[in-house]
């Protein structure tokens, strides 16, 4: 019963997210809006953490399994990529590394500055 309750709550927030995304015609996916809404509901204690924690944690642990059919979907784009494979693949790989390193270092740097400032206070 606990599983059904938790899954129902999560599905309600997914539904609300989809409703807002499609209803207001905004390009933010319904599941991301649903995540923000559930977060707000947890903060305001409308939803109790214990009601969604087990099911939610189980879903998150299996996130990479749920991506497999999406990954298999690149099969549909083999032709589109193969015509310009070198510029496309180099751009994707290098740019992904660049984003990782720049985001990681800047976040880490500013966190370090904040820690120093807090120490001085």
């Amino acid at each position: 019963m606990e599983i059904i309750k938790g899954f129902s709550i999560i599905m309600i927030f997914l539904f609300l997210g989809e409703f807002i995304s499609k209803g207001l015609n905004i390009p933010i996916p319904g599941n991301v809006i649903g995540m923000i809404l559930l977060f707000l509901a947890l903060v305001t204690r409308i939803v109790k953490l214990s009601d969604v924690e087990n099911v939610g944690t189980g879903l998150i642990k299996n996130l990479s399994l749920f991506f497999v059919p999406v990954g298999v979907g690149i099969i549909l784009y083999f032709d589109a990529i193969s015509k310009n494979a070198v510029p496309i693949l180099s751009s994707i790989v290098l740019s992904t590394f660049i984003v990782l390193i720049i985001t990681g270092h800047i976040t880490q740097l500013i966190m370090g500055i904040k820690k120093e400032v807090d120490k001085d206070d």
Partner: protein
Amino acid sequence: MIEEIIKSPVFGVTVTLIAFEIGLFLQNRTKSYVVNPMLIATSLIIIMLLTFKIPYQNYNEGGKYISFLLGPATVALAIPLYKNIDLILKYKMAIFVGILCGSVAGILSAALIASFLGADKTIALSLAPKSVTTPIAIEISNILKGYPSLTSAAVIITGIIGAMMGPEVLKIAGVNNKIAKGIAIGTAAHGLGTSRAVQEGEIEGAMSGLAIGLAGIITSLIIPFIVKMIL
């Protein structure tokens, strides 16, 4: 008879689960993170579909039931986010500026590297939103007049690279902080990267989930101005 089964959802669901189990088995055996269960499962299924000439549509009859769970799983990312709310509020400035700089760097580098290597403008535009989650990336691609299907492919490949090598690249680059690691993976490689970040730890997973949403919103707001300047 076998054709009937291949066209039914049973086929796609069963194949996906078995392929993923093989991936998990190989990962346990090799103890290597480059041997990623998602990547192994994806490769095995692609090889099988190509070898036996099975259309993707037939596979996806079952596959779509598995990928459906991406919706509730993404919503559930609110849980680690909520558990780490104190960290997020404390470091909100670092998180926001990190995601903003990473998003700008991603748009610029993707478009410029592709152009430099001889891709035409439409291809460069299609690659620019590659780091954000698929629905946002496709919308951006439409607005920029790119090829939305190329954008979809670029988003998936980006995610696979981030999931396969993200934590390793960050380690080599000297990014050790858990918050910074999670933010970087979510900004660079959206949900697919996040599927790896949650395995690294709860804080990494929470931050990566947060970055999917924030990077998506920030990218869609700034991308039209950036591509106008460079292309």
